[in-house]
């Protein structure tokens, strides 16, 4: 045993002796979390209580862990000039190693065991999902490293708490400005990944500098700069760029290029009625795709309208309520809307804008992001109860659920999968299911990001007096295999052609 290891173990042992009670408390919290995950009520998603009763633990546990990290770092503080360890002949490497061992043994390892136990209890063999379990460990590490960095530069644990509360408060206060989520289901939002990377690299730099050199002032300055950079990056990165980065890092498989042109629209009264709004001008532009496999998912990223008079209007989708107020036009893509063909919808923010855009033709420049999937073989689910789905996990069918909060009656099934590659599922001909887990600031802390399971739900509403459908649900795993940006231009479009006017009920319509 080298002297570094021997001394590291000595320091580790000392820290355990001192902090056993705190370790025990976090283990207790972790056990409660695992229990909650395992015993989460079936069809909890159906009631939109996605994390079940233990969702708060997804916030409480990281907070407890961060305190534990602060406590262990401050057993041998790195700031100040009065600490005992500095004059001991041990150097920085055994100290850093000791703290790393502590975090590994008291945080990472128990979390690994807890996630493995959850998988086991849910009927999965953890040994078959080791890469996924280690991925969860990496995500946790991405949280731990910034906490270590903060703990290394503050004077004491009270200051650590103050910094953590200040950061959390600041993030909450700025959450509107930060626009945490571009919108629902923005799987292509890479901001949190890059922000986490900035924080992790910054955290490693600050912690290393502080452990090796104990340059507290420099470390603090770097820490503040990193936090500012992360904040600035997150609030600045536009959707266009986020989607482009995503597509660049997971390119689509080679194949026929997807192109899009303006199609034709022959809506009936009922379809159009949904889109009519007497306070806003709504335009539905039908789209015709070529080279588009039905299993490709398309998201509208941005749209720019240039009027005949040369005025520019920009819109991005999805948007927050704040952005709706600030944007003069809003836009989106609807691929599966009843009997309507795929279309791009536009809402014009004011009568003045409508007047300008409807007076003459416009040029439309837009950007879609296409996500490609490779579906596996479908599995027919039992009408009630559990069905194992190869390549995915398992699904539970509810049978008819009487009177939910949202629907009169629901036919739902809920699936869980430990694999990231099976996050998307195809059910009943291709409608995409929502992910249960989307780790990242966009939904944190409501989502159970500590859970090793990803889940999705299919809920079909049925009117109370309607006869129950006789079909059986099928589910297929559909791992994503890449994505691509699709830019398009429609010159000389007369928006009047696609204006949604107040529907007049035709005689022939039922």
């Amino acid at each position: 045993m080298t002297i570094t290891v021997r001394l590291a173990l000595q320091i580790f042992r000392k820290d355990i002796e001192r902090l056993w009670w705190a370790v025990l408390l976090t283990l207790l919290l972790l056990a409660v979390f695992a229990f909650q995950e395992v015993s989460r009520p079936v069809f909890a998603y159906a009631n939109y209580s996605r994390g079940g009763g233990g969702a708060w633990l997804n916030l409480a546990l990281p907070f407890a862990w961060s305190l534990l990290i602060a406590l262990v770092i401050h057993q041998d503080p790195l700031t100040g000039d009065r600490q005992f360890w500095v004059s001991l002949p041990c150097g920085w490497s055994p100290l850093l190693a000791a703290k790393a061992i502590f975090i590994a043994v008291c945080i990472q390892l128990p979390y690994l065991c807890a996630t493995a136990a959850i998988l086991l209890a849910k009927g999965f063999n953890p040994l078959e999902h080791i890469p996924h379990l280690f991925w969860k460990q990496l995500i946790l590490l991405a949280f731990i490293l910034p906490a270590v960095a903060v703990a290394a530069v503050v004077k004491n644990v009270a200051h650590f708490l103050l910094v953590v509360i200040t950061i959390a408060g600041g993030v909450i206060m700025m959450s509107n400005r930060l626009n945490f989520a571009y919108g629902p289901d923005t799987w292509w939002d890479v901001r949190w990944v890059i922000t986490l990377l900035i924080l992790v690299i910054g955290g490693i730099t600050v912690a290393a500098l502080q452990f090796v050199r104990r340059c507290t002032l420099h470390s603090r300055a770097i820490g503040v700069a990193v936090a500012a950079a992360a904040f600035g990056f997150y609030s600045w990165l536009p959707r266009d760029m986020s989607a482009a980065i995503r597509a660049a890092f997971s390119p689509a498989p080679a194949g026929a290029p997807i192109s899009v042109t303006v199609g034709s629209l022959a809506p009936t009264f009922f379809e159009l009625q949904r889109y009519y709004n007497n306070r806003r001008t709504t335009i539905l532009i039908p789209l015709q795709f070529s080279g588009l496999d039905p299993i490709v998912q398309l998201d509208q990223i941005s749209l720019e309208l240039t009027s005949a008079g040369g005025e520019h209007y920009e819109a991005q989708w999805p948007h927050s309520s704040n952005e709706v107020r600030s944007q003069r036009i809003t836009t989106g893509l609807d691929m599966h809307s009843g009997k309507l063909p795929p279309f791009q919808w536009l809402e014009l923010g004011s009568p003045e804008i409508a007047k300008r855009l409807l007076n003459g033709t416009v040029t439309i420049n837009g950007r879609f992001l296409a996500r490609f999937y490779k579906p596996g073989g479908p599995t027919t689910l039992r009408s009630v109860g559990r069905t194992d789905v190869p390549g995915l996990g398992y699904c539970l069918s509810s049978g008819p659920l009487p009177t939910g909060r949202v629907f009169d009656m629901m036919l739902t099934f809920e699936c869980e999968s430990p694999e990231l590659t099976s996050r998307e599922m195809l059910a009943n001909g291709g409608s995409f299911l929502r992910d249960r887990i989307n780790f990242g600031p966009s939904r944190y802390p409501e989502d159970p990001w500590l859970s090793p399971l990803h889940g999705g739900i299919s809920a079909n509403s049925v009117a109370k007096d309607a006869p129950l459908p006789s079909r059986r649900d099928t589910v297929a795993p559909a791992p994503s295999i890449g994505s691509a940006i699709i830019d398009y231009t429609f010159p000389g479009v007369d928006l009047n052609r696609f204006l949604v006017r107040q529907p007049v009920r035709p005689e022939s319509e039922p």
């Binding site: 000595q10 500095v86 004059s87 001991l88 002949p89």
Partner: protein, 302 residues
Amino acid sequence: MNVMLRTDRLAKKFGKVEALTSLTLEVPEGSVFALVGPNGAGKSTAMKVCLNLLRASSGSAEVLGMDSRKLAPAQLARIGYISETRQLPDWMKVSRFLAYCKEFYPAWNDADAAEFVRAYELPLDRPLKSLSRGQRVKAALAAALAYHPSLLFLDEPFSNLDVLVRDQLIETILGAGSETTVFLASHDLAEIESFATHVAYMDQGEIRFTEEMSALSTRFRDVEVVLENGAPLPVDLPAAWLNAEQAGVVIRFTDSHFNAADHSAQIRRYFATAREVNVRAMPLRSIFVALAKSAKQNKGGR
């Protein structure tokens, strides 16, 4: 003569405050070197810079032949450090504290540690935080001396200790023998007078002088001259005669370069009507008071 610690124009600033201005000194091997001066003089800062607990603003320090900024575990294993402000792991019991320290020092001697525990009557089963200040210093000293350090830094080790404890600790330090060089900071001159071999006086971040104790004791004398008549105090007295005062026929001053051989002749040269001359050895405290007073006067004069 081997030098265990050497500083060269060492300076340390805290913002705009200069805690150390230009500290230059040498601590010879085997010595008990006392760095004395009033509170806030910069003694603790000097020690911390030497131990690389603080980074110097300028200048350099060499400890055990190594640049203090590069002190490695090999050097630290030969250095002991006891300070009243050092944060010990208070929650540890004395026995655990000693056992913990032992792991870091290859030269640790269990028998010696046990002997210190016995001599100091340290309660092994009590946590450090429950000990009195004297006992805590004893525990720290036992942990420091058990590995026979080559250089022992003591920062105000005896402050607020009762006389018995202080004497016991001094006895221990002296008992460490010539293998351990002691570099000690204190504001209490009386407590170090009995055992320091070298002394440096520090004030406002500067070393006023540094000297061997024996030479210092020999060099300084309190001189009282009684004149036949009330002749005025000559204005051109030697610069080495500090703080000269006259009260009637009695003149008093501190001779900072006392030389028994020519002292009488020198007195007669300046005080021809001297009737009586009394020369007394000075305690360290009086020497420093005289020096401080002289420095103040010179400063005022400027």
